[in-house]
């Protein structure tokens, strides 16, 4: 182990041919070496040191030096040492992980299977304002500490995910610092399982995302304000063009009229784009109002169909509506549900060729209303289907066919439907057609106080 030949060191004292360092890798005085101490005190000495090999390299050892006393006389010492390189490495690894967790900038908390805190790092202390000492043994994220601000449903889902399903839970939640300040935290809680699949403990990692959310909010508010400001000049363009076209400033020749028609039409597009942007920003800000009232969804659908008649006729499309006989009136915000139907039907008519078919069906299931809008149109390319509800996204084929369109319609549909506890999905094949399926629970939309209605 040391690289010395027995013959070369026979009858020599260990201290004379083995150099050593103390456990902190500092030189050690001969008088403090374990063998010296063992002889001096006549007691067994134990400790960890570094020994040098003959070739000059060093390694950690665990050393026991036992004085050998026969008839009250010290006759020698037995020195047993063991190479502890591997233990040391494991320990160092462990220390590395411990320090990484302890000094991470994210809040890290470890709990027992009941959710009671057994460890929290300094970031968790700093972010929440609670010390590890006062938190130990308390339930993580409970009312007694920084949690308890989310609804009952949230906690049910949360515990069921990590405890029963034994999967990680991620989300953004509201927390409360010790001083009462509320902040938004991106949370990820994972169960750590033993070999048998039982939860050993939970690891919760959180990050204060209040700033990110505030920036996002500011951005959305900016869009809202900017869109709003745009409406004034748009109104001026609208109204003056309207008057010119009405001949209020004198008779127009054919070309003047056609140019003004273009201006008027383009401006209408701009108005509707601004309205969509405002709607999106309200949906994202959560400042829109939901005013549910008993609504006959078929009536709303009929009025949308009425509005679309000119386009349907122009394209010579076959429009079919199939309403189940007894569709119950449910609590819906008329404007919002109208927006959903309008977006889906407008798309269907717009992206279906002349003489194509568009069908709207409304049926009632046990728990929800099902709306399906199908067309024999251009369809959504397979490779882009996963992105179709993304904000501002438009599939390549529709962008090619029609330069108008904002990529906001389906985003708005999804936001409204999801906000109402419903679902939206679709089946589509390129050049064959698309069917959108929307479900709205019979319980309807929940009332929401807000400052803005969607226009």
């Amino acid at each position: 182990m040391l690289g010395h030949e027995f013959e070369a060191v026979q009858n020599k004292k260990l201290v004379d041919f083995v150099n050593m360092l103390d456990v902190e890798e500092k030189p050690i005085l001969r008088s403090k070496r374990p063998a010296t101490l063992a002889i001096q005190t006549q007691k067994r000495q134990r400790g960890e040191y570094y020994y040098f090999r003959r070739n000059g390299s060093s390694f950690p050892v665990s050393v026991t030096v036992t004085p050998v006393i026969i008839d009250d006389e010290l006759v020698g010492t037995i020195e047993v040492f063991r190479d502890i390189t591997r233990e040391r490495t494991n320990e160092q690894d462990l220390q590395k992980f411990q320090r990484a967790v302890a000094e991470a900038s994210d809040h890290v908390v470890i709990t027992d299977p009941e959710g009671k805190i057994i460890y929290m790092n300094s970031a968790a202390e700093k972010i929440t304002g609670y010390s590890q000492q006062e938190s130990l043994g308390k339930k993580a994220g409970s009312n007694a500490l920084w949690g308890g601000l989310m609804g009952k449903d949230f906690y049910q889902e949360f515990w069921s995910t990590i405890k029963k399903v034994k999967k990680s839970f991620t989300g953004v939640i509201k927390n409360k610092r010790k001083d009462g300040q509320i902040y938004d935290a991106a949370v990820s809680v994972s169960p750590i399982l033993d070999n048998r699949g039982n939860v050993q403990f939970f690891v919760g990692i959180e990050r204060d995302v209040s700033k990110e959310l505030a920036i996002d909010r500011a951005k959305t508010e900016f869009v809202s304000l900017a869109s709003h400001q745009l409406r004034t000049p748009l109104s001026a363009i609208n109204w003056y063009t309207e008057m010119l076209l009405a001949g209020d400033a004198g008779k127009l020749n054919k070309e003047q009229r056609s140019f003004l028609d273009e201006i008027y039409h383009s401006n209408q597009r701009m108005v509707s784009l601004v309205n969509s942007l405002l709607n999106v920003s309200r949906l994202e800000l959560g400042t829109f109002m939901v005013e549910p009232e008993k609504t006959d969804i078929c009536e709303i659908a009929d009025s949308v169909i009425g509005e679309l008649q000119p386009q349907i006729k122009k394209k010579n499309q076959v429009f079919t509506k199939k309403y189940e006989k007894k569709i119950q009136k449910i609590l819906l915000d008329k404007k919002l549900i109208r927006m959903v139907i309008q977006n889906l039907l407008t798309n269907a008519v717009k992206y279906t060729k002349d003489t194509g078919k568009v069908t709207l069906a409304i049926t009632q299931n046990k728990k929800d209303l099902l709306l399906s809008v199908s067309d024999t149109g251009m369809g959504i390319p397979k490779s882009q289907q996963s992105q179709i509800f993304k904000k501002l996204f438009r599939a390549d084929n529709v962008r090619e066919a029609d330069t108008e369109g904002t990529g906001l319609g389906l985003y708005i549909v999804k936001a409204i439907v999801a906000g109402s506890g419903g679902t939206v999905r679709f089946e589509s094949e390129e050049n064959k057609g698309t069917t959108f399926f929307v479900t709205i629970p019979l319980t309807g939309m929940a009332k929401k106080e807000g400052t803005k209605t969607l226009a």
């Binding site: 709003h228 409406r231 004034t232 748009l234 109104s235 001026a236 609208n238 109204w239 003056y240 309207e242 008057m243 009405a246 209020d248 108005v271 601004v274 309205n275 829109f288 109002m289 807000g450 400052t451 803005k452 209605t453 226009a455």
Partner: protein, 131 residues
């Protein structure tokens, strides 16, 4: 038709290009108009004029007072409270729309979503009903 028989519309709108357009279109449609850009100016006109038949009102105006302050004053006056008010504004926040309607204005329009002739048609219709 002599000027005296024309219906008088008080237009309260601070954006001059819009004010001019509204004035022009109302006059082409057979109304007589007076324009104001602040709440106080509009109230002065109401006090000094013999009659105002209709009020066309924007929400945000010059100065610190808004259309809501104006409507509150008008509806508190026994003389003016019967004058129909049409709010034509780009501020479509629901709480404001609700406040206006609760105060008793005839209609609330989002400027950029309506044509002048559409709004004027409704104004004419409502005046006919009043007679």
């Amino acid at each position: 038709m002599s000027t005296a028989q024309l219906k008088v519309v008080l237009i309260v709108e601070d954006e001059l290009p819009l004010q001019t357009a509204i004035k022009k279109k109302l006059e082409t449609s057979g109304f007589s108009t007076i324009t104001a850009r602040t709440v106080d100016q509009a109230l002065d006109y109401l006090k000094s004029l013999d009659k105002v038949d209709v009020i066309w009102l924007d929400h945000y105006l010059l100065g610190s007072k808004t259309g809501l302050d104006f409507v509150t004053e008008v509806k508190n006056s026994p003389v003016w409270k019967t004058i129909p008010i049409f709010v034509v504004s780009n501020t479509a926040s629901a709480d404001k729309v609700t406040s206006y309607l609760q105060l008793g204005v005839e209609k609330y329009y989002t400027k950029s979503d309506y044509r002048l002739d559409e709004i004027i048609a409704v104004v004419i219709e409502s005046l006919k009903k009043q007679e």
